[in-house]
Amino acid sequence: MRIGLVCPYRWDVPGGVQYHVRDLAGTLRGMGHHVEVLTPAQHEESVTDPWLTFAGRTVPVPYNGSMASLQFGPVSAARVRRWLREGRFDVVHVHEPATPSVSLLVCMIATGPIVATFHAATTRSKWLAAVGPMARPWLEKISGRIAVSDFARRVQVEHLGGDAVILPNGVHVPFFAEGPALPGFGRGSGGPPTIGFVGRFDEPRKGLPVLLQAMRTVVRAHPGTRLLIAGRGDADQLWSMVGPDLRPHVTLLGEVSEADKAALLRSVDVYCAPNLLGESFGVILIEAMAAGAPVVASDLDAFVRVLDDGAAGVVVRRDDPAALGQALSDLLADPGRRAELAARGSRAAARYDWQVLARRILAVYETVLPPGGGVVTAAPDHDFPGVPPTGTAAGPPRIRRPRR
């Protein structure tokens, strides 16, 4: 099958949607399908793989607590058209098309079977409330809608007026389950107990301040405990947050590669996700469980769901450093419970393996394909008012909003 994936966010900036698209593309290619990805990027040079197509630069705007990529205009439209014409896809799969991004552009321009995946789970997004109804005429072209969680589906139902099947985010389980540990650390190696945290540590909604507060309780009970932090952010700001008393207990790894992240997850005795809000899914929890790390997470709905209602991990009230510290100390003191949680976590993570999920996504593709087969193309011009008949880069196509 020829499949075109569209990622609305910059490819060279780490993010959940980007990883989702990359892993889905990789898995489908491994299954023998032809997959191409259209994506914006910060630097055109970083779009190197032959199956990637650069869709232009984007204007970042705040959305859902982080930055979304705004992208519109004649150059982007021309690139989308060319990509669609040259790709001759059986199905086009856009991600997060409700934001004014290259995904929405593809929905505007493409004709043929379109599948969309919705990731965002905020229910009070001014952006979505404002942009959702305007995008509706083009979102109507989507034949199959997927949501990555119940919460993403709820956003879809409430703000955009449509249903969606739920197919969660995937994880390459073997990539996290097997491999070396971080040098100098290692679960069960007799060294000091370690707690892991992965994420943008200077973003308050990721909850690192709560974890640091809780660490003060933990180091009283387990004096040698180390906290390993990996992720992007301002290091100076972090160290001022940590303070002199915790400083010897914190190791900052900074931005790490995927392989190092997997090694970190395999090394830590406990993985902690103290997030305060805004997580649609919690892929990192599944990655930690796949790597065999027992998980302590805040009680966000999405996390509770991923942790099998608390059976596969410890759930703590969010923004409660005392409870978090207690839970971490108890778990570090109880190897039997850690082993039990790790075993349950591995079973829970297996359901999210990309091999399993990619097959279910393929079933969605098959369902939206017309019986005789077909191909996605750029729309004929009469279907898309305001574009000169030459179409491609010959002239700048103007995009006109419909009047309602």
Partner: protein, 183 residues
């Protein structure tokens, strides 16, 4: 205002109306095509399900037992008959109920057939979700006051939702729910 200004205003309003009507017609035409496509897929998957149930009842009576075999065959025949006349949702529900009641382990039934059955049931559920989604979008747009007043697509019947219980029963246990038999 001068008569010219009035004329200009009227022309502007007319132009806006024409653009809006044209755009709404484009949307309605697209939605109608989407409903048709989604229905064709759902219909094909339902027929496939009935065919597989027939195959199971015909070729593996020993695994099912006489009572189950007869009910499954009747369910499949009913679903086939209801395609042209009768209450299709009711007939498909009856067949779906029989399939759900099947035990998870059917001795002697090839794994390929069970996988195919589970995979087809998954696709029925997907196709039904997508069809109803298309119907919902169409009804939303057709139901708007502006579209009703303009009488757009007034002659066409409103598409109907298709509601059946498509939960996966025992057949889904241990089977690959995304699977398909190699043909």
């Amino acid at each position: 205002m001068t008569p010219e200004a009035w004329l200009l205003l009227a022309a502007g309003v007319l132009l806006l109306l024409a653009v809006w009507t044209g755009w709404t017609l484009v949307r309605l035409r697209r939605l109608a095509a989407r409903v048709d496509r989604a229905w064709a897929t759902l219909d094909a998957q339902l027929q496939r399900r009935a065919g597989l149930a027939e195959e199971l009842a015909r070729q593996h009576p020993a695994a099912l037992g006489e009572g189950v075999r007869a009910r499954l065959a009747a369910g499949a025949a009913g679903a086939r008959a209801a395609r042209d006349t009768g209450d299709r949702e009711l007939a498909e529900n009856a067949l779906g109920h029989e399939l759900r009641e099947l035990p998870a382990d059917l001795p002697g039934v090839p794994a390929a057939l069970r996988t195919d059955l589970a995979g087809t049931q998954t696709r029925v559920a997907l196709a039904r979700r997508f069809y109803n989604d298309a119907v919902r979008d169409t009804r939303e747009l057709r139901g708007r006051r502006s579209a009703r007043w303009a009488g757009l697509h007034r002659r066409r019947p409103l598409p109907r939702y298709f509601d059946i219980d498509d939960r996966l029963g025992g057949i889904g246990v241990g089977a690959d729910v995304a699977g398909r038999r190699a043909s």
